[in-house]
Subunit: 320 residues, 2 copies
């Protein structure tokens, strides 16, 4: 077993699940929490999972990064809407020559992290995970769980499979988490956007599940057009997404069980939406290359309206 220590920034449905699996496998894991801090320091974590339930009665819980030990691997499992906190959070907790592993959706987060910490390796992981936090320190893992892992190099140059990637993959695989290594993190991120942009966006705007979006001709068509715009965006970064990949994503979604996207769940629960990471950053990447993605832009602006209005409505209620 490795002696790498892990810090989990954000112990929710995703960070809590992966962190608990790593600790169960015998690794030294340190969890940063916010609202659940008191509860989890006393009672630990409970994971209900289709792969088998388990409990960790005792975990290393923190509510302040400055109290955490410096770790070999810092897993960023916050929502991207919290990324403005990273300049304060990351420097105290990551070891020199350590790894920051970003398990978030969207584009360009690695570049933000690279501007905050130097002398570390930065990796991105694309998680295919259905998991919810159902109570304090209580995670329900519904399906999937695999991670596509890639390393970041300045300018998102593809940097092959590194030794550090292999080490981290080993830790995850030993913990029962399926890992695929990618030589090209940026291509992986754009490919994930092929699904996330149409379905996260339209599910919120049209108040619909994936099966409903695919049952109607016009939204099926719109989802496809949005996917082709994502491919056009990827092309501005010299990444090629094939037509057959797009058709596979459409077929896969038709065959999926009815699914409420993570952004729809966030919106229903009146949490902030990850609009900038998933929509704003890809738009800006393409725009920087002189390419306009008009339908993604339309979706982006609709989501910004809904997100901002939802916060105003919430604020209004709070004032009463």
């Amino acid at each position: 077993m490795s002696d790498r220590s892990y810090a989990i920034l954000g112990t929710g449905a995703l960070g809590g699940f992966y962190g608990a699996k790593l600790q169960k496998a015998g690794l030294d894991v340190h969890f940063l929490l916010k609202s659940d801090y008191e509860y989890v320091s006393k009672s630990g974590l409970v994971v209900e999972s289709k792969d088998g339930d388990f409990t960790l009665p005792q975990v290393n819980a923190y509510n302040d990064v400055t109290k955490m030990p410096q770790c070999d691997v810092v897993v960023v499992a916050l929502k991207t809407t919290q990324n403005h906190l990273l300049p304060q959070m990351l420097p105290p907790v990551v070891k020199d020559d350590g790894v920051v592993l970003i398990l978030q959706n969207g584009l360009a987060v690695e570049e933000e992290v690279a501007a905050i910490v130097s002398n570390v390796s930065i990796m991105g992981g694309l998680c295919f995970l259905c998991s919810n936090k159902v109570g304090a320190g209580h995670i329900r893992h519904l399906d999937y769980g695999q991670i596509t892992l890639g390393e970041y190099a300045p300018g998102y140059d593809a940097c092959g499979i590194t030794e550090k990637m292999r080490q981290i993959a080993d830790d995850f695989i030993n913990a029962g988490i399926s890992i695929e290594l990618t030589e090209d993190l940026l291509l992986g991120r754009w490919k994930k956007l092929v699904w996330n942009i149409p379905y996260n966006g339209l599910s919120v705007i049209l108040n619909a599940r994936t099966d409903e979006l695919m049952a109607y001709e016009h939204t099926r068509k719109l989802a496809e057009q949005l996917m082709y715009e994502v491919a056009a965006g990827a092309k501005t970064c010299d990444r090629i997404i094939s037509d057959s990949f797009i058709q596979m994503m459409l077929d896969y979604t038709v065959k999926m069980k009815p699914y409420r996207t993570s952004m729809k769940i966030d919106h229903d629960e009146r949490r902030s939406l990850e609009v900038e990471a998933i929509f704003g950053n890809p738009l800006r990447k393409a725009q920087a290359a002189g390419v306009n993605l008009p339908q993604i832009n339309c979706i982006y602006q609709q989501l910004k309206f809904l997100d901002e209005k939802s916060r105003v409505d919430k604020g209004d209620k709070g004032d009463k």
Copy 2:
């Protein structure tokens, strides 16, 4: 006073209002009704108006076009979602050498009518009217009321101000309805779409009033981008809409009282939406000229989803 006879096809918030004003001015008016037929044949029409309330205790009411006399002017005041009925409705009721006056939103309806009846003049009227039907035969006129009137020629060639246009304008002006004559009906229709496409569309999709759409930066920007796409569509028909017209429409909407658009009202009351006339036809016009309007297309497909789903949901309820 003229001796022109008028048929009003569709005695709702719009047809009922203009028809009642014409009858009150002494003209011979014949009203086609559906659900309100029994009530209106017995009790007539009531108009509450900011210009003065009035009652017509007796009107010529019909529930079948074949029972109506042939009239000099047939006013099409149905929703465009009912236009599949025009091939049955129009021929029996319009006089040879008469006029069909289409008081509907959207594009290309005159072409459809030209394919149904020949030997008539076809005119289009763009109505700026805030009016609701609040009960059987009961219309509440809230604001505005002016009509921009133009005549149709094949291919939408601009055909100047004709004598027939002047005659009809006189009838309306005598009835207290403000009329502006336009030499170019198609330009008028595209200009009206500059407002209708962003605000009707976004108000339904984002569940918002005009003031909310204009209060947020992103929807204000999106409305403007949609307006520029409408201008690009108009250009494919050789009609020029200036930037200053677009800026005027934006300013005007900011200064307007909070407004629930007609399409939003239709959606809230689970009526069919006029998606094809207002969105589908302009898209197809531009497409025929090889021009893609991607953001309008995005809105179009979202509206088609919401409209079709709303009918399915309604049907589901009916079955229970």
